[in-house]
Structure formats: structure tokens, C-alpha cells
Symmetry: C2
Subunit: 398 residues, 2 copies
């Protein structure tokens, strides 16, 4: 089930993760050609199998994040289930889990247990707060990562409440951080033979993503807060009211602002207070009102076309339907991919954003139904007979 032509061809991953952050990591590795075996609780499976939207009783949420993975069931609380898992670890490269810290240790399957049977194993863990520190045992969800990292306090409008980003960004960034960690550790292990534990917290991941926001407070004492759509570090770089909605104009440096002045030919822009980028950030309100005076008189499409033709970064704010039909995003970049699922029928998923030139990421097969590959995987990895597998199913271990 490994993709012969993927960059991770031949890598085996045991994926114990549920819902989003961990499964996103496993999905990236699977899209790159690794043989990712998702291991779920018998009879129940991943919580997100119950998430909306459901298509013929299958969760599209689950199907997106678990494509390209084989699926088995295994009761890790039973002695026999635990032993089966350890035998699989002997034959694998990477283990992923996103249980609450301490759960794997209680099962006798913590990193220290796994490295005893396979010293080269790469162990990737994602949790709300990480495996060390006073909040370690607290449950962590995306919204908690967004709230405690400070992201929500800086997202939104000055006169409105702290705002959640419209996707589970802490989960995604946590999953990406875990992917980065396990891949870096895997390349080290290819050279040294030594394994590694990678411990990712959603909160830490969001703190890292806050880049200039933390840096401003830490180095100047000013507390960044909600400032709408503008950016702390550059201006003009904001949304502007057009005749038919909002448009983005983004001048990241003096050269682009020069082009903007030249294109719009508005006298008020030739002011010393707008000379350098730091000047423009300071006088953003004056600059916005001058630019918006102009944008209010034109349609989004006209503004975007005019500015792009002059080499000035500009964009419409797309709704989701427009994104999925965009000729660049959907067609040229193949960011939406159809696949046939045995129960759900034809479903559409998000493509992989990592575009390799030689060994491409691919979506090869749909997410597993619960326990779909029990026979296939246990025969292939551990040489079990059909009879033995049936016994394990009947005993509730698979």
C-alpha cells in the first residue's frame, strides 16, 4: 500500500491518532507515499467518524483526514492487543499518537516502552499542552490552543470580542509541527540508527505561529491586541471597502507603495508622513482613509485588475464556493480531489499542498471503514492466519 513513486515510499507509520491534529500529520505522511496504518478502538473507532457532514453514514470530516491510510482495530487495553501492537512497532518506522499525556505510559506503550522493542522508532505525540509542565494533563482542543496562545486576543476588531480563526488552525499547525519533527528525526535516524520522541503541544505551536506578535510585547512592552485586518509590521496591507464588498491591497515594501502612488495619482499620498514603511504603519489610519476614498468608488474586480496590471499585490476576499471553483486553485493547483469511497460513493477532498516535482504526493485510496484491513495488515506484518485473526475479532481484541 506504499506509493512506489512517493518520497516516503517504504516508510511504515502506526497511526493511533484521533480527530484532527494527529490525523493531519498521518495524512501528510500517507499522501507522500508512506504506508500509514490507522489503529482504532474495536466497535467504535475515531471520535470523528461521528462528525458532520455524514454521507451515507460516513463522515466526510473523517474521510478527508484519513485518506491513503489502511485501517485496523485493536484493543490496546488487553494484554494480547498490547503485544500485537509491540510486534507491529518492531516492523515500523514511526508511531503517532494524540492521547492525553500519560495515557500511553499507562498502557505500557510510552516512548520508553517502545524504544525497548525498537530503538530506532520515531515517536510523534501531539497534545494540548505537551508532555511536560504543570498543564500537561489538561485536555487540549484547538479552541483552547487558540485561546491560551493569545491568538484569539489579537484576531478580530477593536470593538468586538476575541475571535476564533475560522478553521481549527491550532490543530492544523500542531499536526504540521509534528510532521516536521518526525521527518527531521527520521532523516537523523537514517544516518545514525537512533530514534527520537517528538513532543508537540497545540499551545506551543500557536505561540510559534504568532511571530511578530509576541516579539512586539517581549521587546517593547506594548501589548498587541485586535486591530482588524491590518498588520503590525507593514502598511498599506489591509482590506478596503469597495463598491461591492471588500478588497485586499498589500504593499510589502517602499517600491510597491511607490507603484501604488504612481498608479492612483492621488496628491494626498505624496506626504512625508507616508515616506517609509514604519511611517506608514504609524499613520495607517490617515492612509487607509485616503485609499478607501478611492476604493469605495470602484468594484472589486476593477480594483484588482487595475492594481495587478501595475504589479501591485491585490486580491478579492473569496467565499468558499468561489475557492472551490477557482481556475488556479481548483484546476491548475489540483487542491480538490474526487475519490470513490465504497460506502459514501464519490466524495471530494482537499488535495495536498506540498507539490513535489519528481515524486508527487497523491491521493490513491479512500479512508478505511472500521477494521477494513485487519486481515490484510496482520497477515502482511505479522504473518497471522485467517483463523487466528477471526479468534482475535471474536475475543474483542480486534
Amino acid at each position: 500500500m506504499s506509493n512506489q513513486s512517493g518520497v516516503l515510499n517504504g516508510v511504515r507509520v502506526l497511526d493511533l491518532t484521533r480527530v484532527l491534529a494527529g490525523p493531519y500529520c498521518g495524512m501528510m505522511l500517507a499522501d507522500f507515499g508512506a504506508d500509514v496504518i490507522k489503529i482504532e478502538l474495536p466497535g467504535k473507532g475515531d471520535d470523528s467518524r461521528a462528525n458532520a457532514p455524514q454521507i451515507n453514514g460516513e463522515s466526510a470530516y473523517f474521510m478527508n483526514l484519513n485518506r491513503n491510510k489502511r485501517g485496523i482495530t485493536l484493543n490496546l487495553k488487553s494484554e494480547e492487543g498490547r503485544n500485537i501492537f509491540l510486534d507491529m512497532v518492531r516492523n515500523s518506522d514511526i508511531v503517532l499518537e494524540n492521547y492525553r499525556p500519560g495515557v500511553m505510559e499507562k498502557l505500557g506503550l510510552g516512548y520508553e516502552d517502545l524504544r525497548k522493542v525498537n530503538p530506532a522508532i520515531i515517536y510523534g505525540a501531539v497534545s494540548g499542552f505537551g508532555h511536560t509542565g504543570p498543564y500537561s494533563k489538561r485536555a487540549g482542543y484547538d479552541i483552547i490552543g487558540q485561546a491560551m496562545s493569545g491568538l484569539m486576543s489579537t484576531t478580530g476588531w477593536p470593538d468586538a470580542p476575541p475571535t476564533r480563526t475560522g478553521t481549527a488552525i491550532a490543530d492544523v499547525v500542531g499536526g504540521m509541527s509534528c510532521t516536521i519533527g518526525v521527518l527531521a528525526a527520521y532523516s537523523n535516524r537514517l544516518k545514525t540508527g537512533v530514534g527520537e520522541k517528538v513532543d508537540i503541544a497545540l499551545v506551543d505551536s500557536m505561540v510559534s505561529s504568532l511571530e511578530i506578535i509576541n516579539i512586539i510585547y517581549l521587546n517593547t512592552g506594548r501589548i498587541p491586541t485586535r486591530i482588524g485586518n491590518r498588520y503590525e509590521a507593514i502598511y498599506p496591507y489591509d482590506s478596503f471597502q469597495a463598491r461591492d464588498g471588500y478588497v485586499i491591497i498589500a504593499c510589502g515594501n517602499d517600491k510597491l507603495f511607490g507603484l501604488l502612488k504612481q498608479t492612483l495619482n492621488i496628491d494626498a499620498l505624496d506626504n512625508e508622513i507616508f515616506r517609509t514603511n514604519i511611517d506608514r504603519v504609524t499613520h495607517h489610519a490617515e492612509l487607509k482613509s485616503i485609499l478607501e476614498c478611492w476604493t469605495r468608488g470602484h468594484d472589486i474586480d476593477h480594483i484588482v485588475e487595475l492594481l495587478l496590471a501595475a504589479g501591485i499585490p491585490a486580491a478579492p476576499i473569496n467565499t468558499i464556493d468561489r475557492v472551490t471553483k477557482d481556475p488556479h486553485i481548483a484546476v491548475a493547483r489540483e487542491m480538490f480531489v474526487d475519490i470513490e469511497h465504497p460506502v459514501a460513493g464519490k466524495i471530494t477532498m482537499t488535495g495536498n499542498q506540498v507539490k513535489f516535482t519528481n515524486k508527487k504526493a497523491t491521493i490513491r485510496f479512500p479512508a478505511p471503514t472500521l477494521g477494513q484491513h485487519n486481515h490484510e495488515v496482520l497477515k502482511e506484518l505479522l504473518d497471522y492466519s485467517d483463523e487466528k485473526i477471526e479468534q482475535l475479532v471474536n475475543a474483542g481484541i480486534l
Copy 2:
């Protein structure tokens, strides 16, 4: 300058990137112990050296994203500069760039040019729209990625405009996607000797991060839009008004909702319309008003303490000053790190979120001043004499 004890010890990276998305990728590799050589335009350097906040004339923005990198200057537009770069490529593993697509080809330094001198080179590119497709040549900034991917259309409040996430999340997620791509390709190259080009678009990266948001539209036809702080897939999972601000309560599954009911002991929660998670998502407004009736009567700290004690995920919404002083985030997880910069003095940066157990990520030395390591790097990599290097400096090539 390689970190002996990092997972990427011995890996050499030539980092041509500017501002945020590309530099974030180089920063991750540098924190992991790679020898990352940042290459900047003579006399000017990275645009972000001019970004606020400035400390003794050094940009804290730049210093955060370029710590652990050595820095040289090189004019790639000169024939001699180009040849020096190609000679460095022969001795390197990874090249990173975030120019507008086509710029590297025009310099004679595209992937096809580089693989001729080093077939094993890993080439990581980050741009707004990627190296293929009709928008490829458009300039891309973070806010454009946030706007065109649909993220802004789903962030914020139903009665307010589309909202930018309070950090440059498209740049960060683009930089992470590039890191994932080059590390996966590097592990393949360790086995096969074959290089790879990794082409990352900010817009694609945000589309991938939208997980359930795209999936809802693609598979049901409903267009997700701004819904405030709640989540499309689970409920209760939202911010709630407390006596002294807002608090997060997040029940990701039926078991946690059961615990919440038990803890609060409010009759109205025992309603059939709140039975399953999908029921609760449907009836989120009724459920929010019942819960908020209770939260309004209590302080944030009391609510968080009470719910955490009962095993129910809850959190305050931190402002940035609270984050940087948090005993878990700042102290136990070491997410803020002081370093001495030769010009700026003591500055504080964001720590690395990838916590390895055996070979830790570290912040070893500050960002380079412009051209700081010209002599050191050219002697070490290409065995140039001091005289030759001085000549190149005087000729404007370094």
C-alpha cells in the same frame, strides 16, 4: 556552526528567502542544528530588516526569524555572484527561496540549473500562488493567502466583515509546508541520492488548513461563512460570556458533555435535542443560551478551575502579556528565549515548538548582521583567501 547534537546536524542549507514564509522554514531547520547560510543582497539585505520593532537599529522581526543562521551577502545578478552561488550549491543539501516564480530561472538559478551542478539538491520554493497555473506570477502576501483561500470569509462574526487572523498565518503555514516538503524529500534523497523540487503556495497551504470548511461545501453544497467562535463540527465548543470577560468551554465528545451536565446539574441540559454531538451542533443556539445563563454569574478563574477539576476542557482567553508570563508556556515549555545580539543587546525570541527528547532544538546564536559571515563562510566552503573576499566586497559582488 552546525549543532552537534541536533537532528539536522551536518545538513547545509542555502537560504535565499526574505521576510516571513521562507525564513520561518530556514529557522526551523537552523533550530534543529542545520548549518543555514542566509544569502542577502549586498548593501540592503532582507526587506524585513526595516520592519518594526527596531532595537538599537536592528529589527526584532528579522532577529526572531533568522536566529541560528550565518549570513553572507551576494549579488546573484552578477556573473561572478551567480558562479559563487553555484559553487556553494555543489557543497549543500537544501536551497530555499521565496522569490516570485520565474525570478530564479531568470537569474539562471532555477531548479533545472541547480540540479545540473548538484543532482541531489533539494530545492524548496514558497510563493503566493506556486510555480504553476494562471496566477503564478502574481505577488503573494500573507493577507492575500488568507483572503483568496476563503479563510477570511469564515473568520469573524456574522454581522461583521471578513476577518484576518491576528498573525501572518498563511506565511507560517506556507513556511511549515515547505519545511515538511524539504524534509520528506531529504529523507528520500538519503536513500536514493535523488534530489527534488518542492513548490509551495501560500494559498494552497491555507486551503489545506481549512479542513472541514471546504469539505462541508464540496460534499453538501452549504457555503460555510462567519459563525463567531463556535465550530462547525462539535458543540458546545465556543467562547461564553463570564462575569469578568470570556471563557472557553470545549466538549469534544458525548462523554465530556455528560461530565458537563453532571457538573453543572442544570435541568434544561437534559433535553433530547442535545443528545448526540450532531444534535448539539444543530441546536447550538439553545445550548449556548443555557450555558451562558450560568457562566454570566461567575468569574473566568472560577469557571476554568471548576470545569478542569471535573475533567472538562476549559480555558481563559489570554492576552499576549499573560502568555509570555505563563508558568507552563513560558517556563516549563521554554517558549520564550533570551539571547544576546551584538548590536541590539539582550532580546527575547520565540522558542521552537518541536520538542525532541534526545537531540533538542536549540537557539545557539543570534541573527547575522548584514554580511557578517562573508569571510567565514567563503573560506570554509570555497577556500577563498581574505584578499579575494575583499576584492569581491569592493566589486559589489559580496
